[in-house]
C-alpha cells in the first residue's frame, strides 16, 4: 500500500508529536493511570501500558506505509524516530510533575501515573527507558509493516488475541475455574492476570492458526464455482454459529449471559432502527419511543400488580408489538413530507413525548407514573419459568433471530429495494412508480415492530419498568451502534452492539470514561472507517444469475 505522497522528516516529527500529545492528553485526564490498575500479563504490563504505547505504535505503523516499499531502512528509521519523539511530551510531563506541584492544575497527574510512565525506575532512568521502549516499539511497528502480508496478518491477529485475553482475564479466569477447576487456573493465571507463558502461548496459537487459515483460504476469484463454494461455506458457518449460540449460556455463565442478553436486546432494536435509518434513510432520533411503548404495553397487559391485566407473556407479546407498530405508523403520518434534519428533530420530540407521558400524572392511574409498573411476570412455557439469565437468553435469541431473518429477507426483496431507492433519491424513486407514503410507513412500522419486540422482552426480563429507563440515551446508543457497525449492514448491527453495549458492560471500572470512549471511537470511526466495522456488501446478482436455478415453471 503505497500512498502517492511519501513522507519527509518534517512529517515524521509531526506524527511523533501527535502520538505524544495523544498519550499526554490520555495521561492528563487520568485515563492511563486508571487503566494502569488492570494487569494484562502478570508482572509485565497493564492496560495502561497498552494505551500509553498504542499511539506511537500505530503512528509508526501508519507512517511506514507511506514510505515506498523498497526503502525498508528508511521506514525503520522513521518508525524509531516517531517512537522517540512521541516519548518526549511524556518525559516533559514527568519532569514537570516531579519538580513542581502541578497537581493543583492537573489533579490527575498522580505519582502513580508518573511511576507508570517511567516504569517505576525514577525520573532519569525511567525517562530513558521510556524513550528507548517507545523507540523500539516504533521500530517494531515499522518492521511489522514492511513484512509481507502472510506474516503480518498472523502477527497482528496473535497480538490482538493476546490483548483481548489479557484485558478480559478476570472473566476468562472465572470461566476456566468453572470448567477446569483451580489447578488449571493456577497454570494460566497469576493473580487475576495472565501469566507470561500463557500469554505467549495464546499469541503463538492465534498467530499459528491464522497463518494456517490464510494459506488454506481460496484465492478471491469470482467464478461461479468459487461463489458456490463460498455460499456453501457461509451456510456451514451460519449453522455452526447458531449451534454455538444455542449452547453459549452453558459456556458463558450467568454474568456473561446477562451481558449477552442486554446486547441481544440492543441488537433487536438496532435491526429495527437499521431498517428505518440504514435501509430507508429516514433519520429517527426517537427510536426509544417504540421500545418504551412495547415495554409499557407488556407491563400493563401482564403485571400481577394493581395496574396489570395479568395476561401471560406469550398472549401479551403480539399485542405489545402491535401497539408499538401502530405507534410507528402514527408517528410516520405527520412526518411523511419531511427529510433529513427536520425529520430528526420531530422524531427526537416524539421520543421525549412518550417518556414524559409515561411520567405524567395524567397516565399515572394506568402506567404508574414515576413509580412505573412492578410485578411483571417472567415468560413461561407450560410451567417452566424463564427466570435465570441463562433461560431468558433463549427468548432474546429467538427475538434476535426473528428480527435478523425478517430484516434479511426484506432487504433482498422488492420492499428493501424500494427503501434503498428512496434513501438514494426520493423524487426519482417516486418517478419509478414507488408510492412514497406506503414505503415510508412500512419502514417506520417495521422499525417500530422490532423496537416494540425488544421493549416487551425487556419488561418481562426486568419484571419492573420505570419511565427513566427510556430516555434519549437509548436512542443515541442504538443509532451509534448501527453507525459503528456499518449503516445498512446486518452483521454490523451485532458488531456495533457488542462494541457499544457489551464492551462497556465488561469494562465497568472505566464507566466514568464511557462517554469519552464513545465519542473518541465515533470520531476515529468516521475518519478511518466511515463505512463501519462490518459494512454491507454489494449483492452480486449478475454473477449469481448464471447459477441460480431456473425459475419455477408456472403450471
Amino acid at each position: 500500500m503505497t500512498i502517492t505522497k511519501s513522507i519527509e522528516i518534517r512529517d515524521v516529527i509531526k506524527f511523533g508529536l501527535l502520538a505524544g500529545v495523544i498519550v499526554l492528553s490520555l495521561s492528563v485526564i487520568g485515563f492511563i493511570d486508571l487503566l494502569g490498575t488492570r494487569e494484562l500479563v502478570a508482572g509485565m504490563f497493564t492496560l495502561g501500558h497498552i494505551f500509553m504505547l498504542a499511539a506511537p505504535f500505530g503512528m509508526a505503523f501508519v507512517s511506514a506505509g507511506k514510505v515506498s516499499a523498497d526503502e525498508k531502512n528508511k521506514a525503520l528509521g522513521y518508525g524509531f524516530l516517531i517512537g522517540v519523539i512521541a516519548a518526549l511530551p511524556l518525559v516533559v510531563l514527568a519532569i514537570l510533575a516531579t519538580s513542581f506541584d502541578i497537581r493543583q492544575f492537573l489533579p490527575n497527574v498522580s505519582p502513580s501515573l508518573i511511576s507508570l510512565l517511567t516504569f517505576g525506575q525514577g525520573l532519569t532512568v525511567g525517562s530513558l527507558i521510556l524513550v528507548v521502549v517507545t523507540g523500539i516499539l516504533g521500530l517494531l511497528a515499522a518492521g511489522l509493516h514492511t513484512l509481507p502480508d502472510r506474516f503480518q496478518h498472523p502477527l497482528i491477529t496473535g497480538l490482538g488475541w493476546m490483548l483481548i485475553a489479557g484485558t478480559f482475564s478476570e472473566i476468562l479466569l472465572g470461566r476456566v475455574r468453572a470448567f477446569f477447576g483451580r489447578g488449571v487456573v493456577k497454570l494460566i493465571f497469576a493473580g487475576k492476570a495472565l501469566n507470561p507463558i500463557a500469554a505467549l502461548i495464546i499469541f503463538v496459537l492465534a498467530a499459528g492458526i491464522t497463518y494456517w487459515l490464510d494459506t488454506r483460504a481460496p484465492k478471491k476469484e469470482e467464478t461461479v464455482e468459487d461463489i458456490k463454494k463460498l455460499q456453501k461455506m457461509t451456510k456451514i458457518r451460519i449453522g455452526l454459529g447458531i449451534l454455538l449460540l444455542l449452547v453459549s449460556p452453558l459456556i458463558l455463565g450467568t454474568y456473561l449471559t446477562e451481558v449477552a442478553n442486554n446486547v441481544g436486546l440492543y441488537v433487536i432494536m438496532g435491526l429495527g432502527l437499521n431498517i428505518v435509518v440504514g435501509f430507508a434513510g429516514l433519520l429517527d432520533l426517537g427510536f426509544v419511543a417504540f421500545f418504551a411503548i412495547g415495554a409499557f404495553a407488556m407491563g400493563v397487559l401482564t403485571s400481577e400488580g394493581h395496574l396489570g391485566l395479568g395476561l401471560t407473556f406469550w398472549t401479551a407479546l403480539p399485542f405489545s408489538v402491535l401497539a408499538s407498530t401502530l405507534a410507528g405508523v402514527v408517528l410516520g403520518i405527520p412526518v411523511l413530507g419531511m427529510r433529513g434534519d427536520y425529520l430528526a428533530i420531530v422524531t427526537l420530540g416524539f421520543g421525549e413525548i412518550i417518556r414524559i407521558l409515561a411520567l405524567s400524572d395524567m397516565l399515572k392511574p394506568y402506567i404508574g407514573g414515576a413509580q412505573g409498573i412492578l410485578q411483571i411476570p417472567k415468560p413461561s412455557i407450560m410451567g417452566f419459568e424463564f427466570i435465570q439469565p441463562e433461560s431468558l437468553f433463549y427468548i432474546v435469541l429467538l427475538g434476535v433471530l426473528l428480527a435478523a431473518f425478517i430484516s434479511w429477507r426484506l432487504r433482498d426483496s422488492r420492499l428493501g429495494r424500494q427503501w434503498m431507492a428512496m434513501r438514494d433519491d426520493e423524487d426519482v424513486a417516486e418517478a419509478m412508480g414507488i408510492n412514497l407514503v406506503s414505503t415510508k410507513l412500512m419502514a417506520f412500522a417495521s422499525g417500530a415492530f422490532f423496537g416494540g419486540l425488544a421493549g416487551a422482552i425487556f419488561a418481562s426480563k426486568l419484571t419492573s419498568i420505570f419511565p427513566h429507563s427510556f430516555n434519549l440515551i437509548v436512542s443515541i446508543n442504538v443509532l451509534s451502534l448501527i453507525i459503528v457497525g456499518g449503516l445498512g449492514s446486518l452483521p454490523g448491527v451485532v458488531v456495533g452492539a457488542l462494541i457499544l453495549v457489551g464492551l462497556p458492560e465488561l469494562l465497568r471500572e472505566f464507566a466514568e470514561h464511557r462517554m469519552l470512549i464513545y465519542g473518541a471511537l465515533l470520531i476515529v470511526m468516521m475518519l478511518a472507517k466511515p463505512e463501519g466495522f462490518w459494512p454491507s456488501e454489494i449483492i452480486k446478482r449478475e454473477l449469481h444469475a448464471h447459477e441460480e436455478p431456473e425459475p419455477v415453471s408456472s403450471d
Partner: protein
Amino acid sequence: MHVLSTTDVTKKFGGLVAVNQFDFDIPEGRIYSVIGPNGAGKTTFFNCITGFYESDGGAIKFMGRVLNGKSTDQITRMGVSRTYQNIRLFSNMTAIENILVGRHPHYKTFWMEAIVQTKRVLREEAEALEEALHLLDFVGLQGLGDQLATNLPYGAQRRLEIARALANRPKLLLLDEPTAGMNPNETIEMMRFIQRLRDELGITILLIEHDMKVVMGISENIGVMDFGTKIAEGTPEEIQRNPQVIEAYLGRGASSEVL
C-alpha cells in the same frame, strides 16, 4: 391515436409563467422533440407531465386518460417514464438493482410473502432478474450489472438510466437531454439507440435536446418553445425554415439574414 395530448397547460412560479398555455399532440410511435433556448420551460413542462409539478391550468391526457391531479408514481404506473437531464441514478445500488427498482410497478406479490419466500416470490424475483439482465444487455452494459451505479462511466450511467426507465415498461418515454456531455461518437450511438427504442420496443419518445444534429436527425416532429409558449411545430425541415424559430435562437434580424 395520440399517446399524449396537452391543451393549454400552464405552470407559474409566482409571477413567472414557466409554461404558458402549451398544447400539442404526440401520435403513437413517434419521436417528438421539444427544443428551445435555455430557460424556455422545457424541463418544467416535463415535470408537469410526470406529475412532479402540478400544472396551474390546462389538461394533460395520456392514452385518453387525464393525468392532472395524479401523483408521480401513479403516472409512472400508467406508462409514462423518464430520464433526467443531470443523471439521477440510485448511486448506492448496483446497476442491476437500479433496473429492478424500475421494474417495481410490475411486481404483484405482497411484501409478507417475501419474508417466507413463497414460490410466487421466488418465481417473480427470477423473472425480474431475467428481465433486468435482458435490459442490461439491450442497453449494452452486460457484465457491469454488479457495479455500483456511481462507479460506472458517464455514458454507461446514461444508458443505465434509460434501462431503468425501460423497466417501467413505458408506452411513452421522456428523455431529458440524453446526449448532454457526450462526444460526437457517443452522440451518434445514442441517436441510433433512441431509434431502436422506438423501432424494436414500439415506445413513443418525447425528447428534450439541445444538439441540433440529434434533433434534426431522429425526430419526426419538433415543437419549439420560447418563454413557455409554443412558437412553432412541424417536421425538421419546416422548423429549420421557420423564421420565428431562427429569431428565438439567434435574435431579431437574424431571420432575414439567414433566409
